[in-house]
Amino acid sequence: MSVLSRLRAFFAVTTPAVWVLLALLLGAAGLIAGRPGARATGMSHWLFAKGHVPAYAPIFERWNAEQPTPATQFESLLIDGPAMERRMLSAFMSGTPVADLVETERSMACRAFTGPLEDVGFVDLTDRLKAEGLMDKINGPSFAPWTSRGRIFGLPHDVHPVMLVYRADLVEAAGIDLSKVETWAEFFAAMRPLMADGDGDGRPDRYLLNFWPNNRDLMELLLLQAGGGLFDADEHVAIATERNAFVLVSLATWCGGPRRIAVDAPDFTAAGNTLRLRGVVVAALMVDWLAGVWKLDMPELSGKLRLMPLPAWEKGGRRTSVVGGTMLGISKASKNIEASWALAKRLYLDPEVHAAFFKRTTIIPPFKSSWSHPAFSAPDPFFGGQPSGQLYISQAGNVPTRPASPYNLPALLRVNEVLIELADRVVREDISDPAVLLPEARERLAEAQNRVEKMINRNVFLHPEAPAR
C-alpha cells in the first residue's frame, strides 16, 4: 500500500468533520496560547454599565500609576448585569471570588440585603460617611436604596430625578400653553386637542403620554410620585393603601376606555423609538439617564423637545419622582478596604468627572458641591436650549425615598398584576370614571399585600422572632 492510500484509509476511518474540528481546535488553541498573559493587578472593580467605562478609565490610570506596588492597583471589568448578579450573590453566600469594588444597580444590590445584617456582603459605610461629613454633602434621598435596617452599604452614584418631556413642536403648533399646568388633570385637559383623528381610521393619531399597564417601572415611578409605594419607611409592606388604590384606578383609565390618553412606546426598543419619532406619543416621563439615551438613539428629535416638572397628582403635590439607581459598594472580602474606599471616593466625588459624565449622559450627581459646576447650567440644544442640568438639580431634593427591600421586585410584580387586571376591565367595560374601579382595586391590593407578606414571613432571617410557617 502506498503512503498516500494508507493516509487516505486512516482519515476515512471517521467523518471528515472530526478532522476539521481537530484542526480548528489546534489552530484556536495555538492562537489562545500565543496571547499575552493578563497583567496582574492586586485588586479589581466590577461594573455593569458600559457608559461608565470611559468616564472612569483616566481615574484608574492615574490611581494605578500612583500605587507603589501592583497589590493596590485596580483592574476594572465590565460584566453583563445578570452575570454580575449571580457572581456577586454567589460570592456573598459561599465565598467565591468577588471584586473589591462592585458598582451595582438598585434591583441587584437589594438582593444582598436578604440575610442578617452582619452577613450582608458589602462593607457597612454608615460610620465612615458620618465621620467624613459626607451625609450632608450628598443628596439625602439618594442613600435610600442602599440602606437596609438603618445601615448604609453603598456610595450613591446618582439622583435620577424625573421630569416630563414633551414635543414642543407639536404642542406649539396646536397653540397649547403648558405654562400654567400644575396637575395631571390639567395637563390632559390642555393637551386633549392633540388627540384628534386626522386620518380618519377611527383612532387618534397621537397619544399624550408614554405609559402602559405592563410597564412596571413607570407604574412604580407614578406611585412614588403620588406618595404611595410598596414599603413604608420601616420596610414593612404597604401595598394595600388608599393612595395606591387611587393611583392605580387613575392609571387604568389612562390606558383604555373613553378617557384613554396613553400609548405603549417602550424605551430602548425600536418600536417605541419609531412611535416617538413619528410623534405618535407626545410626552413621556423622563428620568435624567433616559435623556442621555434619547440623545444617542434619536438625534432627530433634537430641539423639538422641552422639559417641565411632572404634573402633580394634586395642586401643591410632588413634581418629580425617581427610577433606578447605581451605587458603589466595597465587598467585605476586599483585600484592602482602605484602598477601596479611597478609590471609591475618587470615582464618585470628583466634580470634573461629574461634569464630563453629565455632558455624555445627562445624569446629574448626588454630590451637592458639583452642582455649581458650569456644565450643569449650560443650555442644552437637545431641549431647545433649556439648562437641563439645573432643571434636574432643582428637583433633586424632592426625589421620593424608596426602602431597599429585597422583596421590592415581587411586591412590584404583584401590584403590577393588579393594575393590569384593572386596565383589562376598563377596556372590557369601557369605563371612564376611575371611582367605579375603587372597590375592586382595594380588594386586589389587599390580596397582593397578603401574598407578599406571606413570602416575606417565610424568611427566618429578616424576622428572627417569627419562625418559618
Partner: protein, 288 residues
C-alpha cells in the same frame, strides 16, 4: 387529453413546491431582515424594514449600505478574540463529548456485565434532571475544584452528557453486530483496537450528528460562559454579542452583523455534516 403517469406525478408536485416555498419564505424572512440590518447604518435601521428605499436599482438606495458594522466589530471591538474562543470551546467540547459518549454508549450497548442495568437507569434518570436544579450548587462546586474562570470549567461538566450516552447506545445496539466484535476478539484484536477500527466506523452517522449537536449547543450557550468565565478576553461569541446590547440603547446593526458572523461557522459545519446528521438522528432515536 391523457397524461402519462410520470407527467401526472410531476403535476402533483406543483402544489408541494408552492407549499414548501411559502413555508421557506416565512422561515427566511427573519434572516433577510438580519442580513439587511447588518449592512445598514444605525440611522437607516428603522426607516425601512429591509433595504433602505431610494432611487437606485430596484428602488433601493444601494449606496447607503455599509460595511461599517463589520469593520467596527473586528477593529474596535476585537470580535476576533471571541471568535477564536468560541471555536476552541465548541470544537473541544464537541470532540471530547462525542468521544466519551461513544465510549460509554459502546459499553452499555455491547457488553453484558453486572451493574449494566443500574448504569443504564442512571443514564435515563440523568435525562430528566433539569439543569436549573444544578445551578446553585454547581457554581460553588466549580469554585471548590478551582475551575472558575477557565475553559475547563465549561468543558468538563459537559464531558459526557447522558443524552449523548443514550444516543450512542441506541445507535450501537442496532448498527454494531455482536458477531463482528466476537470475531475480532477471536483474531486477537485488543479492546481499544476493536472500538476504534470496527465500532466507531459503523456509527459514523451518529458521530456526525452528535458532533453537530454538541458544537451547536456550546456555540450558542450563553448563560454558562457568563457565569463561569470572569475575564472578558476569554468570552465566547455568544456573550460578546450580547454585550453589544448596551444598558443605554441597543446598536442593532452591530448585533446583527455579529449574529451573521456567529451563524457562518455553524452553517459551514452543518453543510459538511448534513447527510450524516440526518442518518445519525434516526439511528439514535429508534426504540431499544
Amino acid at each position: 387529453m391523457s397524461l402519462s403517469n410520470a407527467q401526472r406525478q410531476k403535476l402533483l408536485l406543483i402544489p408541494i413546491y408552492i407549499a414548501l416555498t411559502v413555508a421557506g419564505i416565512f422561515t427566511l424572512i427573519p434572516f433577510a431582515w438580519l442580513v439587511c440590518a447588518a449592512f445598514k447604518s444605525n440611522a437607516d435601521i428603522f426607516t425601512s424594514n429591509f433595504l433602505p428605499l431610494g432611487d437606485g436599482f430596484l428602488g433601493v438606495a444601494w449606496t447607503r449600505l455599509t460595511l461599517v458594522n463589520f469593520v467596527r466589530l473586528f477593529k474596535e471591538l476585537g470580535i476576533g478574540v471571541a471568535l477564536t474562543n468560541s471555536v476552541f470551546l465548541s470544537a473541544t467540547s464537541a470532540l471530547l463529548a462525542t468521544f466519551c459518549c461513544s465510549l460509554a454508549g459502546y459499553a452499555l450497548a455491547k457488553f453484558r456485565f453486572a451493574g449494566r442495568g443500574l448504569v443504564m437507569s442512571l443514564v435515563l434518570a440523568a435525562l430528566v434532571v433539569p439543569g436549573s436544579l444544578l445551578m446553585a450548587p454547581g457554581y460553588k462546586l466549580l469554585y471548590d475544584l478551582g475551575l472558575l474562570n477557565s475553559f475547563a470549567g465549561l468543558i468538563l461538566p459537559g464531558l459526557t452528557p447522558a443524552f449523548g450516552v443514550f444516543l450512542f447506545r441506541q445507535a450501537m445496539v442496532n448498527a454494531v453486530p455482536a458477531t463482528l466484535i466476537e470475531s475480532a476478539r477471536i483474531d486477537g484484536a485488543g479492546e481499544f483496537r476493536i472500538f476504534f477500527t470496527i465500532v466507531l466506523p459503523l456509527v459514523r452517522p451518529m458521530i456526525g450528528a452528535y458532533l453537530m449537536i454538541t458544537f451547536l449547543g456550546t456555540w450558542n450557550n450563553f448563560i454558562g460562559p457568563q457565569i463561569v468565565l470572569q475575564d472578558p478576553a476569554s468570552f465566547p461569541l455568544s456573550v460578546a454579542i450580547n454585550q453589544l446590547r448596551g444598558l443605554y440603547g441597543t446598536d442593532y446593526g452591530l448585533i446583527m452583523s455579529g449574529t451573521m458572523i456567529s451563524i457562518a461557522p455553524v452553517l459551514a459545519l452543518f453543510l459538511l455534516l448534513q447527510k450524516e446528521f440526518i442518518a445519525g438522528l434516526t439511528s439514535g432515536a429508534v426504540k431499544g
